[in-house]
């Protein structure tokens, strides 16, 4: 029983992390039809923002040593600026191209960012310790103790989700953004400023990436210039199985991928466990064979078929 509770919390925390990632990708896809493979590298930049830029073996913390509130604000602000710059310097110039072209551009941007990090910080992994108190365990009942960070990830995810829903439902720009996500050209015909809606989507996506960078680095304690790539792949898969273009789908897909990964790790016998990711991808293929449009269908997507 204790083991089950621990696994459930672990699954929810993994799922939350993937849901946040998938949401960052889904937001941009919904308004721009861009699958942003550089999203993982935005997270990497958020991580490296914590330390002094140098290729020294031992990392010196800079922002990482700030007061926690200031630390969060600085890292998130830096990632938002990077996201906005990537829109104005790169994606804005290809936004009328096909989704395939934009996706390839995002790969190019991702590799460029990785190599910039490599140039400045060097290729060696660097240890960074932020929020050490969060990596401790907390006793939630007799015999069940979980990592505080797991609970924090779940809580942060739900706070962000609720904030995002309120933002999209209640605010003026939120309504315009939902309209643009459904039919970008029509929204512009009704007076929606396309450029500012897209810029806003990049800001939100950067905000999510910044927060994820903090959660991820707290968890791993290590920075590498390629750390965004493998998690990006899972975020992308989560958006695909959730249903591209649906934000609810992105969250559902994120949880599906996270939960399946953790459950497989828990139930697979030791020697097969190393093939866990392969099995996750196999399940993804099976889901997509059954529901090629993803788990959550939007009405607008339904009609286009």
């Amino acid at each position: 029983m204790d083991y089950i509770i621990q696994t459930v919390i672990s699954a929810l925390s993994f799922g939350s992390f993937y849901a946040l990632g998938a949401l960052g990708i889904g937001l941009l896809f919904s308004v721009l039809r861009l699958i942003n493979f550089a999203h993982g590298d935005f997270i990497t930049i958020g991580g490296f923002a914590l330390i002094v830029p140098s290729s020294a073996v031992v990392a010196t913390v800079l922002i990482g040593g700030f007061h926690p509130v200031l630390l969060v604000i600085c890292v998130v602000a830096i990632v938002i600026i990077v996201a906005l710059l990537s829109y104005f310097l790169v994606f804005q110039h290809v936004q009328n191209s096909s989704p395939a072209t934009m996706m390839i551009v995002s790969f190019a941007l991702g590799y460029t960012l990785q190599n910039i990090i490599l140039m400045i910080y060097g290729g060696r992994p660097k240890a960074v310790n932020i929020f050490p108190e969060l990596t401790g365990q907390v006793q939630i009942s007799d015999g069940v103790s979980v990592q505080i960070l797991q609970l924090v990830i779940i809580a942060v995810t739900w706070i962000l989700l609720i904030a995002l829903v309120l933002f999209l439902r209640r605010t003026k720009v939120g309504v315009q953004m939902r309209a643009a996500a459904e039919d970008f050209r029509m929204a512009r015909m009704l007076g929606v400023n396309g450029k500012s809606v897209i810029a806003l989507a990049f800001i939100l996506s950067g905000l999510l990436a910044g927060i994820m960078a903090l959660l991820f680095v707290t968890q791993t304690g290590v920075l590498t210039f390629r750390m965004g790539t493998p998690i990006m792949l899972f975020f992308f898969i989560a958006t695909v199985i959730g249903g591209m273009g649906s934000l609810v789908g992105a969250v559902v897909g994120g949880y599906a991928v996270g939960i399946v990964s953790v459950v497989l790790a828990a139930v697979l016998p030791g020697d097969i466990r190393i093939f866990r990711d392969a099995l996750v991808f196999l399940i993804v293929i099976i889901i997509l064979l059954g529901r090629p449009q993803g788990l959550v269908l939007t009405k607008s997507a339904k009609d286009r078929v």
Binding site: R170, T171, K172, V175, Q176, R178, A179, E182, D183, R185, M186, A187, R188, M189, L190, G191, V192, N193, G194, T298, K299, S300, D303
Partner: protein, 269 residues
């Protein structure tokens, strides 16, 4: 029958394209505010869809735009609303060239349109479909909602305001499209086949709606329609296109008798 309520009052406070100078000049000509297509041509990969068309839409009038299928009616409307960049010629709003400006700028400065296929935001409620237009032009969420409800009430859709737009019947979709276009009283509204596929009774209703627009919203209406009863019933002036060219213009009675128009519709005999 649906009871039609009083239309929302007050013109938009959004800044207008008409500068004082232009307005004075226009008034001197006795024409008021205008949306003008000047020698507009649009071509797609060598195929000329609209060929040097001139037309001026005045505030307060209802102008019919008719022609056989493929005559270039929708393409002309696309060009006049910033949806399509003309290959030649220009579009002027109160004397100011707007053809290369972005669609949202044009909408905010008072030129609105509807689409043949409703193109509603299907995942959003009917009321929000209208609110999008209103908040884009600067109203607060609360005011936008009130404004949307007034428009929907006028069009007899108030009871369906909270329904997802995706489940509305075809004819109601068209009405929501009109409500969306009329948010914040544009100066000009271009309606693309609002009565297509409607029964006679529904057509009567749409005709009534179109007739009320100039007076209630103070705007000029350009109406594309295949249903001749609707066109002849509401338009004071008609422009006939065939193969992208203007072939006739005049009052409904003149156009109906024009042999060139009859020929275009019925073919050579």
């Amino acid at each position: 029958m649906k009871q039609r309520k009083k239309a929302p009052e007050g013109r938009s406070q959004a800044d207008r394209a008409c500068t004082e100078g232009a307005r004075v000049a226009e008034q001197a000509n006795g024409s008021g505010q205008t949306l003008e297509a000047r020698q507009v041509s649009v071509s797609f990969e060598g195929l000329t869809a609209v060929n040097s068309v001139d037309e001026t839409l005045h505030q307060g009038e209802i102008l019919g735009l008719i022609g056989p299928n493929g005559a270039g009616k929708t393409t002309l409307v696309n060009a006049m609303t910033g949806f399509q960049l003309p290959a030649a010629g220009e579009v002027l709003l109160c004397g100011k060239v707007i053809s290369s400006l972005s669609p949202h700028w044009i909408r905010r400065h008072g030129v609105a349109r509807t689409f043949q296929a409703g193109r509603l935001f299907r995942d959003m409620p009917v009321s929000e479909n209208v609110e999008v237009a209103a908040v884009s032009m600067g109203l607060s969420r609360k005011k936008a909602h009130a404004h949307a409800m007034e428009l929907l009430e006028w069009l007899g859709l108030a009871d369906r305001a909270e329904m997802p737009a995706g489940i509305l019947p075809y004819t109601d979709e068209r009405r929501v499209g009109i409500a969306r276009a009329l948010a914040l009283s544009p100066q000009f509204v271009l309606l693309d086949e609002p009565a297509a596929g409607m029964s006679d009774l529904e057509c009567d209703d749409i005709m009534q709606v179109v007739r009320e627009i100039p007076e209630r919203f103070g705007c000029g209406v350009l109406l594309i329609e295949h249903n001749m009863r609707v066109i002849m019933g509401v338009c004071a002036r008609i422009h006939v296109l065939d193969s992208g060219k203007t072939i006739a213009r005049g009052t409904p009675a003149e156009v109906q008798k024009n042999p060139v128009v009859i020929n275009a519709y019925l073919g050579h005999s």
